[in-house]
Every structure is written in structure tokens, then in C-alpha cells.
Symmetry: C2
């Protein structure tokens, strides 16, 4: 019997409210499908930071290095600066565990009207480089407090780092509709973006069956709104992928329920799965958060672990429950609680 050990980091605010029922649903799926799954709950969070001065223990990453995956709720809380919560938890996990692919599937969910009048068939994936690029600690201030003051920021793109994420995107496209769009800005950003383009061209040659094109990020953002159905796999740098994935989820009407996977594709380190939404202080503690982002992320986790049937069954159950439109949380116009909705999904699972 396959067995998995999952590190659960509920985090802050509604993070715990959405991960708790997600864990229940996963247990149920394990029973149905016949695999074992065990969960270790970790209190890493802004709350912990406010008590102890650290988002996670000093040996935190070692504690979860051997786990099969990480399920994260949401991190961030008013009063704790973003750079503390992110660079103290989320970003170190992504980087130390070489989760170099941030994967965000974008599709229109049944019964969720998006903002576009004619979206067409929207079904694509954003592959975001997740550990290097524009997000970097390199740089600083010069001449603080003077009129000459300036800040510089170094973006770092490595051949190995770009190659692996671009290869991932081409491989993924070859299992889908066979098309990659690369986000660039080589007309404005002189050094790193032409380098990115060069590597994309090289890797494209190794995937002759996959078509590809590149688009400047400004035109690409516009095209996501004008022709969202024209994309299959979009690959972008850390910053461009971040922007495009939120924008794309908005276009598809799924910004509040979107999932994400931070993948270490080789499986050398655990991958991390997290809903895209934040800790939502305004509704935290009320039990009304929409758990779809967490459940959908859990489906991506099962897929990554190799439990393809369970992954598909869970995603199918989310779709069925949304389409039935009987049980909905307040953000979607209903009155259901978080656990009501998760229970409805659990019931809809057929394996």
C-alpha cells in the first residue's frame, strides 16, 4: 500500500479553516482509494512570529525535508510585515526545496461567471519560474537620507534555472495541446530577457513537436484579456509568472478559489501546495471561507504524488458541487460554511 506523510502548515487567518476540512477529505479519499496518508500539523505562522520572533523553528526545513509533500493554508497577518512572513517562511521553502516550478492551472469553473463577455474555452496553465529571477536579496540602498539616495535591485537568471523550468513547460505542453507561450520583455530589459529568450529558443529545438511563440509581457497581459482561449502553456519568469497567473485567474473568474503547486519535479525535496488566496483577516474565524482553493491544491498534490485517480476524483467532485450550485459559501452568493461545502465535495466524490 502506498503511504504518504504530509506536512500541514495551516498558517494564519483562514488558512487553518480551509486546510482542516481538506485534510478530512484527503483521509476519506485515502480510505476509498486504498492508500495511507498521515499528517503532521506545524504551527509556522505570523502568530508564531509574534510569540517567538520566528515564523518557523531554526531547523524547520530539516523537520519537513523527508515529507512527501507540504500542504499550506495561507501566510500573512496585519502587523507582520510581508517581508518577514514571506522571506521567513514561504520563500525559503520554495528555494531550499528547489520548488522551481510554480504551477497554476487556469480554467473556467462551472457556474462561476467571469468578467469577460466572451471568454471562449479557457483552459491553460501558467508555469512560473519560482526560485530565482527578479525576486532576489541582492541589491540595496545608496546614500540613504540624501537627495542622491537610490536603491538598486539585481535580477539573477541562471542557465540551469531557466533551462529546467522551460523544459518543464515544453514537456507539459507535449501532454496537452502542444503550445508554449514564453513571456519576455527583451525590448526593454536588456540583459536578462534576451538571455531568457535565447534559452527558450534552444529548448524549443529539442521539443520539435511543440509549437511556441514569445510575447512581450505588456502585449501578453493584453492578450490574456482579449484572447484567453488562445493559450495552452504560458511560461514566465518569477515576476512575470506571478503577474500573469493572478491576471489569468481573474480573467477566468476564479481568483478567489485558485490553487497552486510549488513543484520540485524531480521529487528530491517535498513540493508544496497552497491556495492562491491569502489569510483574509476580514472573515477569519467565521468559518465561512471558501475551501475550493485548498481542495483544488490538494488535488494537485495527489496528482504530484502519483494518485492520479484520486486527484481526478477530487477535482471532479469540486466541479460537480459547483455545478449543482446548491451548496455555496458566501463569497459565491450562498450561505454554506467552509465545512458544509467541503462535506458536499466529499459526498460528491466517486472513485
Amino acid at each position: 500500500m502506498n503511504g504518504y506523510r504530509i506536512a500541514v502548515i495551516p498558517g494564519d487567518g483562514i488558512g487553518g479553516e480551509v486546510t482542516a476540512p481538506t485534510v478530512d477529505v484527503l483521509r476519506h479519499l485515502a480510505d476509498l482509494a486504498g492508500f495511507e496518508i498521515a499528517f503532521d500539523q506545524l504551527d509556522w505562522s505570523c502568530a508564531r512570529y509574534q510569540e517567538t520572533g520566528a515564523m518557523m523553528p531554526a531547523d524547520g526545513l530539516d523537520q519537513i525535508r523527508e515529507h512527501d509533500a507540504i500542504l499550506l493554508g495561507a501566510v500573512g497577518w496585519p502587523g507582520v510585515p510581508d517581508h518577514v512572513s514571506l522571506w521567513g517562511l514561504l520563500i525559503p521553502i520554495r528555494r531550499r526545496f528547489q520548488q522551481y516550478v510554480n504551477l497554476r492551472p487556469i480554467s473556467v469553473m462551472p457556474g462561476l461567471p467571469g468578467p469577460l463577455s466572451a471568454p471562449g474555452e479557457v483552459d491553460f496553465v501558467v508555469v512560473r519560474e519560482n526560485v530565482e529571477g527578479e525576486y532576489s536579496e541582492i541589491g540595496g540602498r545608496f546614500a540613504s537620507g540624501t537627495p542622491q539616495e537610490m536603491a538598486v535591485q539585481e535580477a539573477v537568471f541562471t542557465r540551469a534555472g531557466v533551462t529546467r523550468v522551460v523544459d518543464y513547460a515544453f514537456d507539459l505542453a507535449s501532454t496537452r495541446r502542444g503550445h508554449v507561450t514564453s513571456a519576455t520583455k527583451s525590448n526593454g530589459i536588456v540583459h536578462t530577457m534576451p538571455f531568457w529568450d535565447e534559452i527558450v529558443r534552444e529548448r524549443a529545438e529539442r521539443h520539435p513537436r511543440v509549437e511556441w511563440r514569445q510575447e512581450h509581457i505588456d502585449a501578453l497581459a493584453a492578450k490574456l484579456v482579449l484572447q484567453p482561449s488562445s493559450f495552452d502553456v504560458i511560461v514566465g519568469s518569477n515576476l512575470f509568472g506571478d503577474i500573469l497567473s493572478d491576471l489569468a485567474a481573474a480573467v477566468a473568474g476564479s481568483i478567489g478559489i485558485a490553487p497552486s503547486a510549488n513543484l520540485n519535479p524531480e521529487g528530491e525535496f517535498p513540493s508544496m501546495f497552497e491556495p492562491v488566496h491569502g489569510s483574509a483577516p476580514d472573515i477569519a474565524g467565521k468559518g465561512i471561507a471558501n475551501p475550493i482553493g485548498a481542495l483544488w491544491s490538494a488535488s494537485m498534490m495527489l496528482d504530484h504524488l502519483g494518485e492520479k485517480d484520486s486527484a481526478a476524483a477530487l477535482l471532479g467532485a469540486i466541479r460537480t458541487t459547483l455545478a449543482a450550485a446548491e451548496v455555496r459559501t458566501p463569497d459565491l452568493g450562498g450561505t454554506a460554511t467552509t465545512t458544509d461545502f467541503a462535506a458536499a465535495v466529499q459526498e460528491a466524490i466517486s472513485l
Copy 2:
């Protein structure tokens, strides 16, 4: 009598097709309103580069330094790398003439349906920092041709540079609906974006009548699609402003006809006005390009020169002609030529 001397750079492809009738309309307006306007045509372009090896003469910028404004068509042509055409013409003009504000008004034009099902009242302006930030020559390659190869890119934000563009945005907002949204990414980009935020907060204090908020670029891109009517003035760095202004024009349904101004607000150097569209090799030479972007940019030029009534009359005539929906170029479903449309606008001018 006020008199103006305008440098016209038609550039490549449809650039000349849209600037020519725009110059005619400007002459007509000058007659009506009683000011003088003279035009110097310059052949700076990719065509020139292919003949002479340079986009413009070595003393090009000196030739136009004393002009009152620059009207540009479009620059770029297949076979000439972007970095040549942009860093050889457009970007030096922006930088040497301290055109530190790139202004892009976003509004829904009559009779042009956009992609959104319920856009609401869309009427805002993107103020983009235009001479520093992420677009920089600083950086390069390391270990070319080896597995260790990498490229770095330095973004440079100066206190003076950020302050002046942020002040411009707050001043502009105070003449509009009194609200500024600042684009940031201080949770991911560690050095320059917190610096940007800090300066925005400082300048906001000097404009107590203007409300403001900041949004991370990923969430802001999503909100442009979900709530475009919630914006008045958006201010962003060179890269963020570039992305947001194209995205916003797409949302408003005006990507093909959008205008832009590259402003040196102090008037120490000439400002430059250019349609957002490119040289459009596919339709170049056919005389069917839509001149609205160029005409609208010319209206912004008149406004900048102080000819407010003429500026308003030209913009009004564009709106009237669009609303009448009798004369339209093929991109908008009609059969009119570029000059037909410009002539209709000219006829609709009432001063």
C-alpha cells in the same frame, strides 16, 4: 500669436500613414484657433538604420532639442532587432529629454465594445515612470557558454526620479477625482519596491486632499479586469506602468487606438507624443491604418502645449466620429481609408 515648431518622426510602416493626416488636422486646428504651427519631418527609422547603420544622426537629439514637441508615428521593422530600434531612438529620446512621465489615458470610446461584460465607467490614467527603473543597461552575462552561465540585470530607482513621477501623479489626481493607486511588489522585490513605497507614502503626506492606496502588481493586474471603474490615477515604475497601461487599454477595448505622451513636465526639453500601436508591417502601405492613436496623441500634444480648447475639440471630434459610426477603418469593421477617417474627424471639429 502663439507659435509651435513640431518635430515629426513618422518612423516605420504605418507610422508615416498615420502622422501625415494628423499633421493636416493640426494645421486645420491652428487655422481655426489662431495659432501657428510648423513641422519638421525627420526620416529617423529602421529604414534609415538599414541604409546608414544608425536610427538617427549622431547629433539627432541636438537637432530637435529646441522644438516644442515631437510627434512620433511608430518605430520598428522586421529584420531590425528591437534593441537597435528602441535603444537607438525611442529610449534615448525619452531619457535625454527627461521625459520621465509616460501618460496613458484609459477610457472607453463610444461604439467600441471592450472584452468585459460589465466594465462600468472606465476613466483613468496610467502614469508610468519613463526613464529609470527596470529598463537599464546595467548588468550582463557571466560565464557565457558554460553550464554556470548567468545573466544579471540591475534595476535602478533614484529618490529624485521616483519623487518627481509620484508628485506628478498626485498633482494630476488633484485635478481629477482625487485618488492615486501605486503599483508595488514590495513583498517579493526586496530593495527597490520598499523604497518606492516609502517615497509614495512621503509624497502622499504632502497631498493630504488626495486619497491613495498601494497594490501589489499581481493583485492590481487582476483588479484592472475585475473593477476597472475603481481607478482614477495609477502610478507605477517603468516596467509595471508598461504592463498596466497595455492591459488597461485592452480592458477598455482601445488597445489598437490608444495614445501616449512622454512628458517632460517642466518643459525644459520637448515632450514626445506617440500612438501605442506599432508599425504594423502586415498592413503597412495599404493606407488603411486607423489614425485614432496618432490623432488622440496629437490632442494630448495640444493640451501639453497649452492649446486646451483645440485639444478638447480634437478629442471631441474623434469621439463624435466614432459615435456616428459611419466612417470606420477596417480594424473597426469599416471600409474607410486612413485619410477618409482623418478627414471625417477634421470635419467634425467644432471650435
